[in-house]
Symmetry: C2
Subunit: 478 residues, 2 copies
């Protein structure tokens, strides 16, 4: 019985991709939609997204951002105004060519991202420095016609938030780009229990049309990197292409400075692959749709279900997301089921427990069991949820540290990557070296860690003395 | 000064459509997008939608519904499985025919509504009576290629929620259809301060593919009706078309019973046209993005801004959405600006008020002014917000009652409609009479009020004795 669910999940060490697919499907996070490359997000998966949204949205609002909604369809001519941007996105757009049974005069792009349409309105709205800054965000669906897709990680349609801001000075835009990067990093740490590397992207990896892109990269359990969020400093590149000018304090008409930044349902994929184990999901308490599942023991004995219901109500009143599994399956079946679904805490309550005014709590993250008093149960649970969060973060951090190697040369880079590690290198920000690593190892520059002190003077890739040595993370990536 | 904004808004009695357009644009709720028929929802408009979402979503969850997200794109072949449904929606769909620079083998419909794609997954997931009911909802964008569009009321893309449920019995589906209709009605009453007529739609006005559609209709200030929400009982029509079967308790394989229901950003249009006046918006406190605006008087005098900030903090801590207008405009300009924007309460605070430990509060809804103590201000404000809500509801109800006429015959129907009233008639549920009213008066059957006692035996339209007399509302509609 104990292995019923585990057997259905591929071995996490032998076949990580299949393990991922098994977990997302069997825990009913997601299913494949009727159109290739699309996903249906089921209640258990969408519940995680709602918690992510609520937590992030509060942080956006606390930093002065306002939500808006811009149209899904963008005239193709509008997309084409910024040359690099269209070059980056045109090959992967979906086009609406018919509306109301008629051929459209101009094809419309289903937004792959919304810089161009935000810019068209900013250009119309902004007149004076008094109007600035504009700090907007939208929660929306976007579409990119991808050839190879996997639920949450890469799908033709996905859900995300995209921030779009306009500033009167270059410095303010730079600050916003970094502030939002750190907001994402703190969110990953505090809500997803996810340690991330943050830093600037290389020219090759930056967003199409940006002056500079910054990213946060999380390590998955197969040692690959997942780009979990990005922020872009556009400087005045889009404002020149879309004619966004404002009359400054000094009476001079100037181009505005812009940023954008986003995270998506990909974060759910990150959670799964950073925290999951052979038994299935391990969900961080802050985003788990169910934080505590109550499993009655000998549930037909008088008083057991009533006691479970009372506990559920008590916890729910304190805002703890609690589910009572009163189905007619056996306790053992339920244990496995809810472990697979990654519920942080399981509370067992049987006749003897009730007699003794206690319950048994099992932690999903580290398998510990506690017998606790029913008095002040909500406090005990809240503490255990906090503990789980910290444990999960520390485990992920320890794993990441163990799997990040300082590499002085190509041999060490190769070894690190082959042993499923991130390679921390010194790089001279030379595109040729970046290309070499890609060609030889199918690995890419993830982020530059500019604040770290270079550990050698030579480039770890080509061995030449660096003019501008930067500590850089190289990894295979999703 | 007092008339600066009012002058910019067309006369509400002379040109209601222009009044509407002026109000939505000048209060910055919305702007036109670059594609004809689309809208950009700006922060002030989106703030209203967020409040609507939060209040409705809590009610959905409290009644056991779960949120999901289904793909935007639907294969055209999937749409075509239910004959009436495709006939209703095919003429107004947008089609994606290219993806990633390639022509698609099958065109994809941008969802006009999602019954078909939900059904395709229900068919895959549902096996046993144990799986039922499915009570799902999604918040999403949808697209209908409309010829004539107006912000919030009818746009090619709009935001909405769509509930989709599956049940084991016909009775359960019927109950869900009515339960959700009443949930919408109570929401309109309790959150939007909007009285609505609820009842069944005629065969002609029902949703394409439904067995029965129920709607709520709200009266706008021009005497027209606005359909503000609908619920549909599909019986087993879709489950037969999409093969949704379950093994029932008795061991027999049966078709499932379904419903769907939705409200949209149209509700924002309803609010504007039901509550607005010559000075602009009048927003119900429960959904107003700003509930209290603080206007400092003699703001350069020492201590004034500090006192305003203190009041703002105090109110915000109690969850009251408060904005301090510390811009350098005059108080008179600010009064007009925030009146136009429909903020329920304005709080004025000047040096003398501070000395006397009081503030002046002006109610937007009925223009009353009060001098109130700064002690317990949050309680006073909360009471005034509740009072505003009740006042707004009562005003709208009174207006609606004054503009609903009992009509015994065609002359009275004509007169009622020409005097911008709803015509309450007795109808024999005969499509010929419905067609006649449409042809003669461009008016439609809005809802049947089946629980009301017929006030005569003959049909108000054709004068014949009714076999099945039903009290029915006829009106011109948006």
């Amino acid at each position: 019985m104990a292995n019923q669910f585990v057997k259905e999940i591929a071995d996490i060490n032998q076949d990580f991709p299949q393990w991922y697919t098994d977990v997302v499907k069997k825990t009913e996070l997601v299913d494949y939609g009727p159109v290739k490359g699309t996903m249906v997000i089921r209640p258990y998966g969408y519940g995680i997204w709602e918690n992510i949204q609520r937590e992030l949205d509060a942080r956006f609002k606390a930093t002065g951002h306002k939500n808006v909604y811009f149209p899904l369809l963008i005239p193709i001519s509008l997309l084409q105004k910024e040359a690099e941007h269209v070059e980056g996105f045109a090959p992967e757009v979906a086009l609406v060519t018919k509306g109301g049974s008629e051929e459209l005069a101009e094809p419309l792009v289903v937004r792959p991202t919304s810089e161009t349409i935000f810019c068209s309105m900013f250009s119309k709205w902004i007149e004076s420095y008094r109007d600035l800054p504009y700090k907007y965000n939208q929660w929306a669906n976007v579409m990119r016609w991808e050839k190879t897709t996997r639920p949450f990680l890469r799908t033709s349609e996905f859900l995300w938030q995209e921030g779009h801001t306009v500033h009167a000075t270059k410095e303010e835009a730079e600050k916003e780009t970094i502030d939002m990067l750190y907001l994402y990093r703190d969110f990953a740490r505090e809500v997803l229990a996810l340690p991330v590397y943050v830093g600037q992207k290389s020219e090759k990896e930056k967003f199409a049309g940006a002056l500079a892109t910054f990213g946060m990269e999380a390590m998955m359990k197969d040692g690959k990197s997942l780009q979990a969020g990005t922020t872009h400093n556009f400087a005045d590149k889009f404002s020149r292409a879309y004619d966004i000018k404002f009359l400054d304090k000094d009476g001079v008409l100037k181009y505005a400075w812009q940023t954008s930044w986003g995270v998506s349902t990909r974060l759910i994929g990150a959670l799964i692959m950073a925290h999951g184990d052979q038994r299935g999901l391990v969900l961080p308490p802050k985003v788990a749709p169910i934080q505590v599942v109550i499993v009655p023991i000998a549930s037909k004995k008088p008083g057991v279900l009533e006691a479970c219901q009372k506990v559920m109500q008590q916890l729910q009143e304190k805002g703890i997301r609690t589910h009572l599994d009163d189905s007619d399956q056996s306790p053992g079946w339920k244990f496995n089921q809810w472990e697979m679904k990654g519920v942080p805490l399981r509370l067992e309550l049987g006749p003897r427990d009730i007699e003794n005014n206690v319950a048994v709590i099992a932690e999903r993250c580290d398998n510990q069991k506690h017998t606790v008093s029913l008095d002040d149960l909500d406090k005990t649970i809240a503490e255990l949820l906090d503990k789980t969060h910290e444990n999960m973060y520390n485990k992920a951090l320890e794993f990441r540290n163990e799997h990040t190697r300082i590499c002085h040369n190509m041999e060490e880079i190769e070894q690190a990557l082959n042993e499923n590690c991130f390679a921390k290198v010194v790089w001279d920000v030379d595109a040729k070296c970046e290309a070499l690593v890609k060609e030889k190892f199918q690995a890419t520059v993830r982020v530059m860690l500019k604040e770290e002190q270079p550990f050698q003077e030579t480039c770890s890739i080509c061995g030449h003395k660096c003019e501008n040595p930067v500590v850089t993370l190289i990894a295979r990536a999703y």
